[in-house]
């Protein structure tokens, strides 16, 4: 069962890597990152369930990953808003430099 779960998590992670690297739209890139974190949640719960004897620290790590997901989304949306206000850009190709 652990093998199956890890293969599923690897597939979700691979799709996230593809999305984060291939997409031009900022929000679509964020979706790729979210998929990678989704895979991390699955892996942590898999190890908590199958290998730690139910140690609650494993579940705590998932709470931390969920907090990271919220941070990523909030800062990501704020940056998208700031970049759109300043450059009218919604895709990566419209940005030539990082500095405002």
């Amino acid at each position: 069962m652990i093998d199956l779960l890890l293969v599923i998590a690897a597939a979700v992670f691979g799709i996230g890597v593809y999305g984060a690297l291939s997409q031009q739209s900022f929000v679509m890139i964020m979706m790729g990152l979210e998929l990678m974190l989704n895979s991390a949640v699955l892996v942590v719960v898999t190890f908590w369930w199958g290998t730690t004897g139910g140690n609650p620290s494993g579940q705590l790590l998932v709470i931390v990953i969920l907090a990271v997901m919220a941070v990523e989304a909030a800062i990501g949306f704020a940056l998208v808003t700031a970049v759109y206000r300043s450059r009218k850009a919604d895709i990566t190709e419209k940005l030539r430099r990082l500095r405002f």
């Binding site: 652990i2 199956l4 779960l5 890890l6 293969v7 599923i8 998590a9 690897a10 597939a11 979700v12 992670f13 691979g14 799709i15 996230g16 890597v17 593809y18 999305g19 690297l21 291939s22 997409q23 739209s25 929000v27 679509m28 979706m31 998929l35 989704n38 949640v41 699955l42 719960v45 898999t46 190890f47 369930w49 199958g50 290998t51 004897g53 139910g54 609650p56 579940q59 705590l60 998932v62 709470i63 931390v64 969920l66 907090a67 997901m69 919220a70 941070v71 989304a73 909030a74 800062i75 949306f77 704020a78 940056l79 998208v80 700031a82 206000r85 919604d90 895709i91 990566t92 405002f100």
Partner: protein, 188 residues
Amino acid sequence: MNPGLLSYFLVSAFGIGAVVSGWLVFRTDSMLRAAYWLMVSFVAVGAMLVVLDAQFLGLILILMMSGEMTIMAIFMIMFMMNPAGLNPMTMVHQHRTSMVAGVGSFLVLAWVGVVAEFPDRPAPAVDPTAALGEELLGRSMLIFESAGVALLAVMIGAIALAAKRGRFGDADAGSVEPEIDVDTGSRT
């Protein structure tokens, strides 16, 4: 049906759902639909967590991601072109490199998952939610509180980043620092 076999079947079904919906995120023409396909992928993973006896975490994941994807859909409508997918759209770059990176990372991670030996210590059939609650409000309270403080800092930072009025004027005008008056030392 054997409970172990039922769990295996459910995990397989939700796993296929998570992977397929994750792939559809980047295959649909509509950015709005992409947000909802991502939500389906999260719901499938949340259901897998419930099957793995992490009911609280699974439901939290579903609840949180449903809200986040709804906000993401609003952003799609606000900013992005073609939110409804009325026209065919391909907005990708370095497609072949990305595909190689995605498939490569899948193969490496799946190989590690299949080949590596992991300890066989399954979680006991006690209430995992109660154990998590005791952990959060006991030994690991500092970590839990730190996550809360980090989220508060992020809220402040996100508002500062997204606010129209910036430190040096309106955000649409660009953040150009005003010149310093050499006589008085103040900014003009």
